[in-house]
C-alpha cells in the first residue's frame, strides 16, 4: 500500500503553519528575554511604569 504524494496545496499549507509556529515561538522567546532584561536591569524602577520610584532609592543617594 502506498500513499499518494501530497498535493501542492498541502505543502503550501504546511509551510504556512510551520512559519507561523516559528514566528509565535520567536515572539514568546522575545517577550521572555525582554522580561528578564527589564527585571535584572530595572534597578530602582517599578515594572508597571518604567519610572524611577523615589521610595525605592536608598536613603542618602541622589542628595
Amino acid at each position: 500500500m502506498s500513499f499518494r504524494p501530497d498535493h501542492e496545496l498541502h505543502r503550501r499549507r504546511l509551510g504556512r503553519n510551520v512559519g507561523l509556529g516559528v514566528v509565535l515561538a520567536a515572539f514568546v522567546a522575545l517577550v521572555f528575554g525582554l522580561t528578564v532584561v527589564k527585571i535584572t536591569d530595572g534597578g530602582q524602577m517599578q515594572g508597571y511604569d518604567h519610572v524611577v520610584q523615589p521610595a525605592l532609592v536608598p536613603q542618602g543617594e541622589g542628595q
Binding site: 503550501r12 509551510g15 504556512r16 510551520v18 512559519g19 507561523l20 522575545l30 528575554g33 532584561v37
Partner: protein, 314 residues
C-alpha cells in the same frame, strides 16, 4: 453541498497564500532600510540601551513599517494591478485576499506599537503609531492619488525610523534626530523622481499624479536638481552636531558632490537623449541615491564607534 459551495465563494481568504506571500506584504526591502536607519538612530543616541532592548526595539519598529506596507498594499491593490513593477505583488496576483492583507496590517500595527511601548518607552511607541498612520492614511489613502507632491510629503513616513530609534534611547527628540529625519525627507523626492523618469509608463497607466505625469518630464528634471541642492546643507549640517565629526563630514561632502553632479546631468538631458541610451543616467543616479543614504548612516555609525573609543567628533 450547496452550503459548502456558498462558503467557498464568500471566503475572505484565497487559501492559496504561502508564508512567503505574507512576508512579501510587509515589503522586506523597505524594511531593510528601516532596520538600518532605526538602528543607527538608536546607536548614535547619547543614552546607552541594553543590547536586547535595542534588538527588540528595532524589530518592533521594522514590524510597524511592515504593517504599514501591508496596509498600503491593501489600499493600492487596484493600481498595483496595472503597474508592471507591482503587478506581481500578492494581492493583484490573487495569492492573498485583500481582507487578509488588511487584517495582517492592522494586527501587526497594534502589536508593534504596544510592544515598542513596553520594550522602549511610550514616546517612541506614539511616534511609531503616528508613522504607520502617516504612511497608510495620509500618504496611501490621501496624498498619493491627489497631488503630484505626494512623495514629498509622504516621504516623511520613511524618514521617521531613525527618529524613533533615537526616541527609544532618549525618550525624546533633539536637533540630531530632526536632522536625521530631514536627511531622509529631503533625499526621498530626487530618489523617487529619478525612478519615475525611467518607469515612465507605470504611473500614467495607473493614473497616479506623479510629477512626471502632471507637470511633465522637463519639470521633473528641474525638481530633482532643486531638491538635491536643498538636500546638501541638511546632510552637511548633521556633521556639525554631536553625532557628526570629520569622518561623516568627509563622506558626506563626497556623496553630495556625486549626487549634485548626477542631478545636474539629469537636468541637462532631454527626453530624446534619455530614450536613446535607455535612461542610463537616470538609472545610475537612482542607484547612487541608494548608496548615498546608506553611506551617510554608515558614516554616522562609524562616528559613534569612534566617539565611544575617544576619537572622532569635534
Amino acid at each position: 453541498m450547496s452550503d459548502i459551495r456558498a462558503y467557498e465563494l464568500d471566503s475572505p481568504t484565497t487559501g492559496e497564500a504561502g508564508f512567503g506571500d505574507f512576508i512579501a506584504l510587509l515589503k522586506p526591502r523597505v524594511m531593510s532600510l528601516v532596520v538600518f536607519t532605526a538602528l543607527v538612530g538608536l546607536l548614535v543616541a547619547p543614552s546607552p540601551v541594553h543590547p536586547f532592548v535595542a534588538f527588540a526595539s528595532v524589530l518592533f519598529i521594522s514590524l510597524g513599517a511592515g504593517a504599514s506596507g501591508a496596509l498600503n498594499m491593501w489600499w493600492d491593490a487596484d493600481i498595483d494591478a496595472v503597474m508592471r513593477r507591482t503587478a506581481k505583488r500578492p494581492i493583484p496576483a490573487g495569492r492573498v485576499a485583500p481582507g487578509e492583507a488588511l487584517g495582517l496590517g492592522l494586527a501587526l500595527s497594534g502589536i508593534s506599537v504596544v510592544m515598542l511601548g513596553l520594550a522602549a518607552n511610550l514616546f517612541a511607541a506614539g511616534l511609531l503609531a503616528f508613522t504607520i498612520f502617516f504612511y497608510a492614511v495620509i500618504y496611501s489613502m490621501w496624498l498619493k492619488r491627489s497631488t503630484p507632491q505626494n512623495i514629498v510629503i509622504g516621504g516623511a513616513a520613511g524618514a521617521f525610523p531613525p527618529m524613533i530609534g533615537w526616541a527609544c534611547a532618549t525618550g525624546g527628540v533633539s536637533i540630531e534626530s530632526i536632522l536625521m529625519f530631514a536627511l531622509i525627507f529631503m533625499w526621498t523626492p530626487p530618489h523617487f523622481w529619478s525612478l519615475a523618469l525611467f518607469m515612465k509608463d507605470d504611473y500614467s497607466n495607473a493614473d497616479v499624479p506623479m510629477l512626471t505625469v502632471t507637470h511633465g518630464r522637463k519639470a521633473t528634471r528641474a525638481h530633482i536638481l532643486v531638491y538635491t541642492i536643498a538636500l546638501v546643507p541638511v546632510a552637511l549640517a548633521t556633521g556639525f552636531t554631536s553625532i557628526g565629526g570629520p569622518v561623516y563630514l568627509a563622506v558626506s561632502a563626497v556623496l553630495n558632490a556625486g549626487f549634485l553632479v548626477g542631478a545636474w546631468a539629469i537636468w541637462r538631458r532631454d527626453e530624446e537623449t534619455a530614450q536613446a541610451d535607455k535612461y542610463a543616467v537616470e538609472k545610475k543616479v537612482f542607484r547612487f541615491s541608494l548608496y548615498y543614504l546608506f553611506l551617510h548612516f554608515a558614516a554616522l555609525l562609524i562616528e559613534a564607534v569612534l566617539h565611544a573609543n575617544g576619537f572622532g567628533g569635534w
